[in-house]
């Protein structure tokens, strides 16, 4: 849930990157971290296993600038993608303001994408959220890989509600900032709408 701090004049929002294991959620955050100026970012935290698989979450605080004298701060989280970490995924969704789904474009990961998207919907529901009412952006990652399925197929399987979608190659940064901007904008717009403004 967004938090407005009037004494430090800050609007804080929570964004969660969701998706199947090894889909590129952590890579998105690492690229953002690497390309953001030091004054706009805090420390990136990764709670990972010894083999660098996300164990609990990655966390990156970012400042995107000011609106009407209030600093906008976005807290970016990833969830662990592996199926058996479901309890952790649920915890990270607490208080979420916007979700990015990082899908893996490879044909062999289509089932994992669909399973993870169902899992997202289910876990949000358990916390009292409806994915269709939450700011939500779809990212098709790994577009450069030889076994990547067509955009039309990805769209048909993963984006029936036509949310904003981006093609990406997170290792080189293609689509990463476009995705971030789209979700940040959607969250701020929803916050204003929710307040009756």
């Amino acid at each position: 849930m967004s938090f407005i701090n009037y004494s430090s004049r800050e609007i804080n929002c929570k964004l969660v990157y969701y998706g199947p294991g090894l889909g590129g959620k952590t890579t998105n955050l690492r690229f953002i971290y690497a390309k953001t100026s030091p004054e706009a970012k805090g420390k990136m935290i990764s709670l990972a296993t010894e083999t660098e698989r996300t164990l609990f979450f990655d966390f990156l605080p970012l400042s995107l600038g000011e609106i009407r004298g209030f600093k906008t701060r976005f807290h970016l989280y990833t969830v662990p993608g592996q199926v058996f970490y479901d309890a952790s995924r649920k915890l990270i969704l607490k208080g979420v303001d916007g979700v990015v789904f990082v899908a893996d474009s490879q044909i062999e990961r289509m089932e994992a994408n669909i399973e993870s998207l169902d899992n997202l919907r289910q876990n949000l529901q358990e916390q009292g959220y409806d994915l269709d009412k939450l700011p939500f952006v779809m990212q098709y990652n790994k577009r450069d890989l030889p076994s990547a399925v067509s955009l039309a197929e990805l769209h048909a399987a993963l984006n029936p509600t036509n949310v904003i979608e981006f093609e990406a190659r997170a290792t080189t940064g293609v689509g990463v900032f476009e995705t971030l901007k789209a979700i940040a904008k959607a969250v701020l717009t929803e916050l204003r709408r929710g307040s009756g403004g």
């Binding site: 849930m1 938090f3 407005i4 701090n5 009037y6 004494s7 609007i11 804080n12 929570k14 805090g42 420390k43 935290i45 709670l47 609990f56 979450f57 966390f59 605080p61 995107l64 600038g65 609106i67 009407r68 209030f70 906008t72 807290h75 989280y77 309890a87 952790s88 649920k90 915890l91 990270i92 607490k94 208080g95 979420v96 901007k181 940040a184 904008k185 701020l188 717009t189 916050l191 204003r192 929710g194 307040s195 009756g196 403004g197």
Partner: protein, 153 residues
Amino acid sequence: MFPEEQRQISSVCQRLHRDANAKAVLLIGRDGQPIAEAGEVGEIDVTSLSSLTAGNVAATGGISKILREKDFTSQFHEGEKTHVHITLVAGRAILVVLFDERSSLGLVRLRVRKAAEEMARLFEQVAKKAASGTGPSILNEITDADIDKLFND
């Protein structure tokens, strides 16, 4: 959070910092957003600490569910120099007290109990205000142009 309650919550944190002889006091939302702080926080990465503490509390809450316990309301981490006392306040926020040899766990627990009660009352007040829609909101003033301006490179 409304400015008046924010001020009052900050002053409860400051009092707790003083009464418990603590190094620092932090109040954090359950989703990891820092709400208020008092004491020696200059050298602490408050943002990271808040996010990790909220993750820790959420994980502990998950454990309590599996064990069919109610929320574990407090935790204590003993360090070599700095100790951490973590308490859930009214199920809504997390009160973190960092302390060293100048204080003791007993004193911290005692002072935290009183401060947590005061904070719970203030949260109640905030919830009532929010429900009645009487508070001010910067959000009402934001325009499409303001949002677009943020993303113009």
